[in-house]
Amino acid sequence: MKRVTRFLWVAFLAIVLIGSLYAGGGKEEAKGAPKTIKLGAIYPLTGGIAVTGADCKSGVEMAIDIINNKYDIDFPFARTEGIPNLGGAKLEVVFADSRGDATQGMAEAERLITQDKIVAMVGGYQSAVVKTISVATERLRIPYVLSDATSPTLTERGFKYFFRVIPHDGIQAKNALDMIRDIEKKENVPLKKIALIWENTEWGSNVAVQVRKYAQDYGMTIVADIGYPNRTTDLTAEVMRIKASQPDVLIHPGYISDAILFVKTLKSMDVVPKVFVGMAAYVEPNFLQTLGNDGNYIFTRAVYGLDLAKAKPFIAKINELYKQKYGRDMSANAARSFTAPFVMADAINRAKSLDPDAIQKALMETNLPASAFISPYEGCKFDPVTHDNIYARSLYLQIQNQQYRVVWPFDLAPVPYQFPFKPWKER
């Protein structure tokens, strides 16, 4: 009997506590015109690629800073404070940690929506995680603008509330092979044999699909096609396979820890392709800090490079601001994440409302010029079916003297590319 009473007491207390939490939440909502607008952003802030997550987070924070405060830069929302059409309401981002895990990503998305009451979602890094986050936002009717993850399958699902600004892997893979073809023509050296090594989650395996597809169209042969579990402890077997296939070109979509391990293993096994294209991890500041000179000559895809400042002067100003805050140049990853909050802010501003359907409608009508992006995009307009940005395009950078330089497309490149890949011993 005693135990029953005790149980009832505990249950009673729990109900009172939970009830008061909900009551508190309700009160806050009833305040009328919004002073702050809450956005959610989920990144891998702990775990194997935490360093990447932190970098992306800094890009989002920089964007929010520019939107919320006054800066003398020719950029949307820079000269005003907050969202003008909503009485200058400030944006606030609630960050959550996916730990790089798809299950966790979905759980955190649900928590942000139901408990933190976010009105929209931005960001997300790994495609596998974005896939589950977007399932939650779609189900709970939360507009989601993504400017980081690139797997084509994300926008093939016909979601209503999900939009993507960055070019997907199909375009980026095609661009990689375009660049290789351009180099082949210019140097008059055959670059037909491709070794492809990919991390085997959603993103890497889909990049591999795209590379295979375009390689066939371009008359190139895949001499090694190797998937590996991401976060592996060792890549010796994989590198031995590449070595045995004697490729001209090496293409590796990988995340940061694998990429560092991969380059180190290539070096110790003395594998030297003519062209080495890395994707994702290869644009991270920490990648280069860790590898130093061994990073040189690697090509990497990006949608940002400081070299673009020549064509778009505001890039230099934004980078200056970023440098003051974080003590380093803005990386390509931070720059990717920087974009989504502006597209979302623009939609909310035009919607003049926080209603998800009003924001969704405004997003459908998005029409931003090239001058609203620090990336080489010619603007932003979403495809009515897939919601991919029809004006998106990508760049290729090369690491030269431990600096990322834009080298492709040739007309945007301030410096020529360096060819061929220099043997490890001669560095």
Binding site: G47, A50, T236, S257
Partner: protein, 286 residues
């Protein structure tokens, strides 16, 4: 090519072996699966990193220091946490080490940021070429170091009184207590010793591997499989199990498909558990 893969596999296996030996030792004496083992390896890696950065001591030479540091850390952790859960239900033992691992990894991220670090050039570096076989010298040095430490631990357990007490406890706890062995003290000591093995592994690993807070989680998991493969509580078995896993990882990765290399490792483990549940060198009952 085959010889190259075998060599690489053995080198990898030697590194796994130290981590799994410590794990096996702890299990043998107190029946605790130490899920925080990888985190201790990570701490030792950071210790070696700062030894290199601040004191200019090469991680290879730093290894004895790392062993001592981690030994005392292990004893401390035993005093603060483990001794209170060691006689508790299985789940609380499990959760205690699990939580400890989480805590240590997140503490590392808080203190040292999630950035990747590497020791620029260890005193042993380069590649040794014998015919077409390439041996990475830093890995070779670490493997030799691992074998040396493993041999010392093995001798210690076989030849000293404390070592025999450890063996007695893993064989029969009650009997050992009745023979006048101080269970608490030996348990604290062997927990320290197990963590010290992780410390040696971490310091040796730091000579050629990158360092970040979550670096050793997968190493910890693989070590667990090695221990189960070799036989819970058998230190030699753990060593053997780790070598087998290293070979499976490189050979399987090359001849089967890298996608399936971990699946293959765990499949072999499952096979062993089904056919010989006590592990390769495990003692009779489970």
């Amino acid at each position: 090519m085959f010889i190259q893969l075998v060599v690489s596999g053995l080198l990898l296996g030697c590194i796994y072996s130290l981590i799994s030996m410590g794990l096996s030792l702890i299990w043998g004496v107190m029946g605790i699966v130490n899920f925080a083992h990888g985190a201790f390896v990570m701490l030792a890696m950071y210790a070696a990193y700062y030894g290199d950065q601040l004191l200019r001591i090469d991680p290879l030479l730093f290894t004895p220091v790392a062993i001592l540091l981690l030994f005392f850390l292990g004893v401390l952790v035993y005093q603060i946490i483990i001794q209170y859960v060691v006689d508790g239900p299985y789940v609380s033992r499990l959760l205690a080490t699990f939580g400890l691992g989480f805590f240590l990894i997140n503490m590392a991220q808080f203190l040292w940021s999630p950035n990747f670090r590497t020791i620029k050039e260890s005193m042993v570096h380069g590649v040794w070429k014998i015919g077409s076989v390439m041996i990475e010298l830093p890995k070779l040095a670490s493997s030799l170091g691992s074998i040396l430490v493993a041999a010392l631990v093995f001798l210690f357990i076989r030849k000293t009184r404390t070592g025999q007490a450890i063996q007695a406890i893993s064989a029969d706890k009650m009997g050992a207590a009745l023979m006048g062995i101080n269970l608490k003290r030996i348990a604290a000591f062997s927990f320290g010793l197990g963590i010290a093995c992780a410390g040696a592994a971490g310091s040796l690993l730091a000579t050629f591997y990158y360092i970040f807070p979550d670096v050793a989680s997968l190493f910890g998991l693989i070590a667990l499989v090695a221990v189960a493969l070799g036989g819970f509580g058998s230190v030699e078995g753990a060593f053997l199990g780790a070598l087998i896993l290293g070979l499976v990882e490189t050979l399987g990765g090359y001849y089967v498909d890298p996608n399936w290399k971990y699946a293959l490792m765990f499949l072999i483990y499952l096979g062993i558990v089904l056919i010989r549940p006590q592990g390769l060198l495990g003692r009779g009952k489970v």
